[in-house]
């Protein structure tokens, strides 16, 4: 059993063995939370001492070298435990103190809101938090205490208390999960990253993805320009040359002129094919006409691997459709190239908030999310805050899940 599995707040009316085991586990964690009362109180008091003595005597500066890292260690343990109970990661978000001389560090810590939040947490852990976490432990253990006393000590009072403690178990059954969860939530509120830091981090991520997107677009534009230059443009220029030469030869050497014209006609067909290819690479006409489902359907028709498509999505904004389409195209191209699959499938749905598409195949697996093709896909989706998950154990099957948040306004 995983001691720190996430808390499930189910319907607590049916008493089952599982339920009892789960509540015993939470009570144990609660006991741990309560036990943190002592170090918390000690550190809180020492921190106060630091604040008082620091400016005056300098002892505070030395004391701080011990107290602050110890606090960071204690809160880190709490973050990990509460985070696992809530099934999310709680990030401290300390300001960096790197590059500061050891004696200057306390000044940095003093200016860091995350450290002040730690200080607040210490007091919570030593007061209200302590009471709150002690309650499930007390409800569970007090009746046992009365029982032991009733057997060992004399006096009716213990027996009376023991009989009266039935409700304690009922209360324990009902309030333990919400109480432990409340404690974890309170810790997340106090120890978690502040809104500002979270936004800063998000902005940083957005900035990175924007830079990558720009690079990617620039590369795409270069590719398109090259395709046009080397393909259609060159062919059309060659048609012009052949026709011009034919015009010159038409009276003197009609046979040669006819041959040149025939060549020119064939070249125009190639030029149009080139242009079609370039246009498809920019924005497939079928995507514009039929939307994502139709376009992916059309895409799979041309694949050598039999592919089933089940996509239920409305028309989405063109940039999202385009990104999703090319992402799926890239995934399917990978399937054809590397998977040795007997069949592939694409499923997709849209729940009003997010577009989710899964591309799967029954091939040999071992696809690498860090591979260049899939990084390109991830980058395309990054621009929309989208995600890409690859599940591809050796031996298959491979599942690539794409997620793009998008609202139809």
């Amino acid at each position: 059993m995983d001691l720190l599995a996430p808390i499930r707040l189910g319907r607590p009316y049916a008493v089952t063995a599982d339920g009892i085991v789960d509540r015993l586990r939470l009570t144990l964690i609660s006991a741990g939370y309560a036990a943190s009362f002592l170090p918390s109180l000690a550190l809180a008091i020492l921190t106060m001492l630091c604040l008082v003595l620091g400016p005056a005597l300098g002892i505070g500066v030395l004391l701080a070298q011990l107290v602050f890292p110890a606090t960071a260690g204690l809160t880190a343990a709490h973050r990990r435990i509460s985070g696992q109970l809530l099934d999310e990661e709680i990030v401290a978000g300390y300001a960096s103190d790197r590059g500061a001389p050891v004696l200057v560090r306390p000044l940095r810590w003093m200016r860091d809101p995350a450290r002040w939040r730690n200080f607040g947490f210490l007091w919570f852990s030593a007061s209200g938090g302590f009471a709150m976490s002690l309650l499930p432990v007390a409800l569970l253990t007090l009746p046992l205490t009365w029982l032991i006393l009733a057997i060992t000590a004399s006096g009716w009072i213990w027996l009376f208390l023991l009989v009266g403690s039935g409700p304690a178990y009922v209360a324990w059954w009902f309030i333990t999960p919400p109480l432990v969860r409340a404690r974890a939530l309170a810790e997340r509120g106090m120890l978690g990253n502040s809104r500002v830091a979270e936004l800063e981090e998000r902005v940083e991520r957005v900035r990175e993805s924007r830079a990558e997107t720009l690079d990617h677009s620039a590369a795409e534009v270069r590719r398109i320009e090259r395709d046009l230059h080397d393909g259609a443009q060159a062919r059309i220029a060659s048609v012009g040359m052949n026709v011009g030469l034919a015009e010159k030869l038409v009276h003197t050497d009609p046979a040669a002129a006819a041959a040149l014209l025939r060549e020119a006609r064939e070249t125009t067909i190639d030029a149009l094919e080139d242009l079609r290819g370039v246009v498809r690479g920019i924005h497939p006409p079928v995507l514009a006409d039929k939307g994502l489902a139709g376009a992916i359907e059309a895409l799979t028709l041309a694949l050598p691997v039999p592919t089933s498509v089940a996509i239920q999505v409305p028309r989405l904004p063109a940039p999202v459709e385009s990104a999703a389409y090319f992402a799926v195209a890239e995934c399917l191209a990978n399937t054809v190239k590397h998977a040795r699959a007997g069949r592939a499938w694409v499923t997709g749905r849209y729940d009003g908030e997010r577009l989710r598409i899964t591309v799967g195949d029954d091939g040999r697996g071992g696809a690498d999310a860090a591979g260049s093709g899939l990084t390109g896909v991830a980058r395309r989706l990054d621009a929309f805050d989208g995600d890409l998950h690859v599940l591809s154990p050796a031996g298959g099957p491979t599942l690539v899940e794409l997620e793009v948040p998008c609202r139809i306004s």
């Binding site: 230059h229 060159a234 220029a237 060659s238 011009g244 030469l245 010159k248 070249t267």
Partner: protein, 213 residues
């Protein structure tokens, strides 16, 4: 006449070779990359190089650079550059590389076989040929001072910048050569250009002025 041809696309290399040979110009070497072009340009049995701006390995302006480098070593080596884009800057680099015998044409012009062959001969003979599109770009960039010219004078200036001789301009505009002479004198006066004796020097003066140098 003997020519070196540099063009990376096989289709166009064949087409250009055919066209040059149809005009009695022997293509002694047809190359498809910059290093080979640089080697070919050191031959002393060639009368002209017809060069694509973009060549492998990097597909930027290798052809142009190879041509200007060769012209530094051999001033006046006739070079006709072909491009799929109008880029006045390239034309300027080329013009800056010495006294005439240069040309810059869009590949589309090659389809007018006789005109193209005439341009090749003109460059080989030390003349200057610029694509009308390039000239139009230069003229429009310098539109303000050109307000002083009459419409007719502007027409003459444009044709002059393309590298045409007075006789050719006269034929084109269906007037006498004397009339064109008058127009050119007026243009030179209005634009404060030094009077120039031969056609090519005159063209270069006009281009230098259009280029704003």
């Amino acid at each position: 006449m003997r020519a070196v041809l540099a063009e990376d696309q096989a289709l166009l290399r064949v087409g250009l070779t055919r066209i040059l040979e149809s005009g009695g110009i022997e293509v002694v070497e047809a190359v498809d990359n910059a290093p080979s072009l640089a080697r070919a340009l050191t031959r002393d049995d060639i009368d002209i190089a017809v060069v694509d701006v973009r060549l492998p390995p990097t597909f930027s302006t290798e052809g142009l650079e190879a041509a200007t480098t060769a012209r530094r070593a051999r001033p006046g080596l006739p070079v006709l550059v072909l491009s799929q884009w109008v880029e006045p800057l390239y034309a300027r680099d080329l013009l800056a590389s010495g006294e005439g015998a240069v040309g810059y044409l869009l590949k589309d012009r090659v389809a007018d076989v006789d005109a193209f062959l005439a341009a090749v001969r003109q460059v080989a003979g030390g003349g200057t040929v610029l694509d009308p599109e390039v000239v139009a770009a230069l003229v429009s960039a310098r539109s303000r001072p050109l307000d002083r010219l009459t419409d007719r004078e502007r027409e003459v200036l444009t044709l002059m910048a393309e590298g045409r001789t007075n006789a050719a301009i006269a034929a084109r505009l269906v007037v006498t050569e004397k009339a064109i002479g008058k127009h050119t004198n007026n243009i030179f006066a209005k634009l404060d250009l030094p009077p120039a004796a031969d056609d090519n020097r005159r063209v270069l003066a006009v281009l230098a002025w259009l280029d704003g140098r």
